[in-house]
Amino acid sequence: MFTFTLRRLGMAIPALVFISAVIFMLLELAPGDPLAQVPLSVPPEVRANMREALGLGESAHVRYWKWLVQMFWVEPQVLCDHIFGSTFAEGKQRVISWQTRSPVMDTVAQRLPQTLWVVGMAYVIGVLVAVPIGIYSAYRQYSLFDQAGTFVSMLGFSIPPFFVGPLLIMVFAVQLGWVPSVYDTTHTVHDWQSFLVQLRQMILPVLVLSLQAMAQISRYMRASMLSVLHQDFIRTARAKGLPERKVVYVHALRNSLIPVVTAIALGLPSIFGGAIITEVVFKVNGIGDQLLNALLANDLPSVQTLTFLIAVLIVMFNLIADLLYGVLDPRIRYD
């Protein structure tokens, strides 16, 4: 297992370097000039100094290297300082946003909790709903429940979040007035009453995202359960007289959960993609919203950092999926 983990880790690091290089090269081709807003009355030498201050003076590979150092060496030190009160990062250059002229990671740290709360909650709910639906649909294949489940997950696949979102706002926020239509990110939870307010404003975005997650995972669960239920050892279990509960929940479910666990880990990044749209629809100021604003403002360091962070999330969850597969299914470790 240890060598398996090492090998998978060894594959993740080149992947991250590749992705960061792709993002950097794309941004190299960007036509926008970050100093376009600066008035023409500013003398050229001051302008040159400003370019220098933005880190634009050097050639591309030097800047790429600097960004890598800032991202992987300075930012962890800042985090360490923040937690332990140490002074490793004192006076070191961090990744600076052109938009706010402050470190990108500070803004990310402000906004990430909103995204993680909404996305995480939605994913947990989606999985918790999807797994039982998948199990029962497979167990009673072609029953009314199975047909209905298939239809609902097809709907979840087919109706895009930017349509479900406005539709839900229209019905539950505008017509019925049960929930607010806009997510209030300045709201803080300090007692039961404010917790209820927080809960109410989270319902709609979480519902939209969890519908997507549920659709995918319940299909996986159903397919995997179906293929296991048709195998010989299930017949053996029944033939030796085990109670049906035990056959389904122990023999079939445990084996069919193996691919589903990896599907759950692999599906999380696509939910982050959906979160960008959901954040726009419900006006949640998470990192998706930050990315969009940075793109529109031509704020390249922010765009680079945020895209890369999302890529890190994807690679990390791929790694977790691989390792979980190795833990759950010993055959995988010896390939």
Partner: protein, 316 residues
């Protein structure tokens, strides 16, 4: 075995069997019918409904669809604009037809690019052992790219040069189609590769090799026809994803220019005044959802029809 009559007879046996299995899948039949209706409506709709989608009819702006009469007899409706007009008096029905044409065209072309790349990568990886490792590693890497952020990034960066090259609409079309196509071929590549790996070990490939068939002929005549079913299934999935992705880009404001309607853009433009004119969100949204839903059901039916195991299961 070399008898051409026997070969064609064999083909006659395979496709009717698939068609019979497909016809039994009720969802796929309904989905196929609806998709056919949408495609015909979008392609030929402007012959029946000749109103210019860009014509401004300021006097008749903000009209409601005819069906609003059912609950609101005072609604501003008219037979000249059965689905209403927008805030500049442009006809909603004509816009839906033209917008759908763009959405479907983007979906279809992007899907073709994805299929072409995916099938090529899959066949090369499955057939040539020395290419298998690098190509599959590449597939894994592209799968790990954050697609939507990258799409947004590329759409902002390359918008201006491509517009200068091909004009505002065509430039955007080329950009969106290429980008969606180049980021959604990975599943097809994986499926085709595993299919090829499986086929490669079979006797008829060995026989073809032993009589000296060249690799290209082997691929074209023996491997491709046998991988057609998974390719078709992933084509439907690809079409559905491409339509949704294009609409998502338009929704976020990174899509086609303002006077060029697509379903996603019509929806995005109307969200602001959704409480007054809900139909402007619902109609394009329903069009996207219905198209994607029917494509997905079609794919489901195709998969069941192509999979010999599912016949056995449904028969007993």
């Amino acid at each position: 075995m070399t008898d051409p009559v026997a070969a064609s007879h064999n083909r006659h046996g395979k496709w009717p069997r698939i068609w019979r299995a497909f016809r039994k899948h009720k969802g796929a039949m309904i989905g196929g019918g609806i998709l056919m209706f949408i495609i015909l409506g979008v392609l030929l709709g402007d012959l029946l409904w000749a109103t210019d989608p860009q014509a401004l009819d300021i006097r008749n702006k903000n009209m409601r669809p005819l069906y609003t009469l059912l609950w609101d007899t005072d609604a501003k409706v008219g037979w000249a604009h059965p689905l209403g007009t927008d805030s500049l008096g442009r006809d909603a029905l004509a816009n839906l037809i033209v917008g759908g044409r763009t959405s479907l065209a983007v979906g279809a072309v992007a899907m073709c690019i994805a299929l072409l790349v995916g099938t090529t990568v899959g066949i090369l990886a499955g057939l040539f052992r020395w290419l298998d490792g690098p190509l599959m590693r590449l597939t894994d890497l592209v799968l790990a790219l954050p697609i939507l952020p990258l799409l947004l990034l590329v759409a902002t960066l390359f918008r201006a040069p491509l517009r200068a090259q091909f004009g505002p609409e065509a430039g955007m079309f080329v950009l969106i189609v290429t980008v969606i196509g180049l980021t959604s071929w990975m599943q097809t590549a994986r499926i085709v590769r595993s299919e090829i790996l499986h086929l490669k070990e079979q006797d008829f490939i060995l026989a073809a090799r032993s009589i000296g068939t060249r690799p290209f002929a082997l691929i074209w005549r023996h491997l491709l026809p046998n991988t057609l079913s998974p390719i078709l299934v992933s084509a439907t999935l690809g079409l559905a994803t491409a339509i949704i992705t294009e609409s998502a880009l338009s929704f976020l404001g990174f899509g086609f220019p303002p006077d060029f309607p697509t379903w996603g853009k019509m929806l995005a433009d109307s969200v602001q005044r959704m409480d007054q004119y809900p139909e402007r969100v619902i109609l394009p949204g329903a069009a996207i959802s219905l198209t994607v839903l029917s494509v997905n059901y079609l794919g489901d039916g195709l998969r069941d029809a192509f999979d010999p195991r599912s016949h056995r299961r449904s028969r007993n």
